[in-house]
Symmetry: C2
Subunit: 460 residues, 2 copies
Amino acid sequence: MTHTNTESTALDADVIIIGAGISGSAAAKALHDRGDRVLVVEANDRIGGRTWTEPEGAPGGPIDNGGMFIGETHTHLIELGTSLGLEMTPSGKPGADTYVVRGDVLRAPDEQLDPDISFVPEFLSSLEALDALAESVGWDRPWESPDAASLDSKTVATWLEETVESVEVRRLHALIVNAILGADPYEVSLLYWAYYVSECEGIQSLMGTRDGAQWAWWVGGAAQVSWRIADAIGREKVLLDWAVTRVEQDDSRVVVYSGQRSLRARHVIVAMSPLAANQIRFQPALPTARAQLQTRAPMGRYYKLQVRYPSTFWVDQGFSGALVDTDDVGVFLLDGTKPTDSLATLIGFVGGSNYDRWAVRTAEERQGAFIDLLIKAFGPEAAEPSYFHETDWTQQTWAQGGPVTYMPPGVLAHFGSALREPVGRIHFAGTEASFQWSGYMEGGVRAGQKAAAAIAEALQ
Amino acid sequence: MTHTNTESTALDADVIIIGAGISGSAAAKALHDRGDRVLVVEANDRIGGRTWTEPEGAPGGPIDNGGMFIGETHTHLIELGTSLGLEMTPSGKPGADTYVVRGDVLRAPDEQLDPDISFVPEFLSSLEALDALAESVGWDRPWESPDAASLDSKTVATWLEETVESVEVRRLHALIVNAILGADPYEVSLLYWAYYVSECEGIQSLMGTRDGAQWAWWVGGAAQVSWRIADAIGREKVLLDWAVTRVEQDDSRVVVYSGQRSLRARHVIVAMSPLAANQIRFQPALPTARAQLQTRAPMGRYYKLQVRYPSTFWVDQGFSGALVDTDDVGVFLLDGTKPTDSLATLIGFVGGSNYDRWAVRTAEERQGAFIDLLIKAFGPEAAEPSYFHETDWTQQTWAQGGPVTYMPPGVLAHFGSALREPVGRIHFAGTEASFQWSGYMEGGVRAGQKAAAAIAEALQ
């Protein structure tokens, strides 16, 4: 599709995409492929957004500081990445998972804890209860589910107090929520958590250590999806260090500003988290529901810890490397070793209130406690890592947190529909705008492609 | 105090104050009075921030679209305003207050509901329970109070479910929270609400219809405090349409940017709400606690409705004009008539979930429902207003809501101390930074003067 009339050539592009993360990139590719002129503007000096790969950033192979997981049902992402020539590699390692709970180191062969351990039956039934709640909420329009207002008036902590007896099970739930959302049960809406579990195909999928949501990676790193799209549409179409300060729309066009600079297009896609979108002034003002959403859907807080060793010595000892620690560190750990790497990797996610506990300590103290945990779980070989790295997502100027958006009570039931609704010529993408797999790369791709399709229809 | 050395004259000011609201203005005056060179930068095209007076904006006298109330114990504000030559006028009117609860119009002479009404004893005891909770939390360091973490893990709605039986009393609490914070019990942290009640001297003070927190006004309007300070320090020192985009500090100075423009000073005062402060990029990045606070302390949502009549006909009928409606409109109403006005005024506050219900209707529908309520409460004379005006604070580009900041669960207990802690050469003011009367003009003045005093000490 080529525009030849005067109006069109006075524009800098048919569509401007704000944000060169995987969602904005997927949108840009979809529009470019059908012949639309696109420009992508990005506040950071790198392409990838919440995917952030450093090919030479660490010894032993490329390192992903951000999102990296491909789930079994991440059809849109898999198709997109494969079409760009990327290869997948499975994430799972054989062996038992490990749980550290109140001082005990417990093994879970085949991902199953021994049901004779005192707290395990209640843990399993509480996960079933969570799945049942998630199913009742659904992922399509959680704000219209029967108990939406009531579920959105309480925190996950209140629900745990009401329904869970044992300290161990409460701690396990707290660890899971903190690791997955980067926020603690005490601050997360029960409706939002139930929605999140639903839209990610259940709690077992979310917690999966070798399948479900954590099934595979891209060889070479996750940000390659966005990089290759930039290559395909032309790197000169992706403007870095171009932080949008203002978006104006009228009934014929959109003007996107970064300070004194401006670009004109027919439509714009805001491919960012609601929090990041709130850095932009919109003229005319956004409808109240969208404006309010953007002021009250924060990002989690998060360390991604990565430690590398000469070999996967834990696998040799029968451990998968997957570990849930509810005690000192408060971490969800996974093996992150790719066959193409020359060093083995363990990846730790420290989020929410566990992040807070560690943020007041030094980097050395964090590393020390983390290594101590690995020694406790996997033996003395863990004492001598080849490399240690932590990414503090709260210190990222534009993301302002990680890994994902969470919602406190009162947001999803009342402003949730604004996640996805366009406002005139402004369309919203970013993983938060996806019906399913919001929080994952897959959600970003789906939301980007959906926004592109809506604009394609409008441009007909 | 005059700086004559080279370093000082290379600076544009000793102190730059971001925000020309009452807090920033109070800070500017305090520093100016001791001889420091100050510059005030303001994103809006008007001085006053969340106080917003239009002297000629309405028939019948000046109109305050924003904050306006002086409380009995607002010593700092009273001293400041009086020193600027302003005069106070009492807010209270004689007569009975009115409650509209589930269809019944109830009168409350001397602010007291008849204790023989079925729900009144529980209402009174629930207010006492709230005050007791507030006292246990305190206003000094609520995050250190004994049950801080637990109280901050639940919403006010959960507390009401646990402790209040009757629908009427739950509705009354909901109306009060919505009107005072612009947010519903379903989204507000119980710790935050208890703190707010404590720091405003108790729920009776907050709800006061003629004394307590709503005791008096400034003749001519509230924004005059900031205007007269601008006159005193020199209007050329107050730069309007100067939205700060970036603040850089090193160990000798601060640079404040608005796009390409920049100003240099020894110190900066960020005299804004946490939400508004999050529009600024800080370099180096703020400590995580402050950065996180700024992403998760939203503003309420709020209509301020003002309706004017030829006379205070309600007073003639024995009504004070104060009205609590838990039914159709969901409004907290007060008489707003000053002796210097030529028309009588009723002021309605529609906040939080009541705002949401009305935001999806037209302005005409809102006006119609509001006038219908006034007819029901005060008789047919209410049918013919001389003037009707609504201010939607969610549509204010820079405030992004009103009347005040509220906190969902998980913020105050964990990030609250960052409200007031300076970060190097960056000091925080705005009403949210005050120990007491946060949310009121008084808190703004106190926080501004406190930041100024801290800088004065550093400049010695």
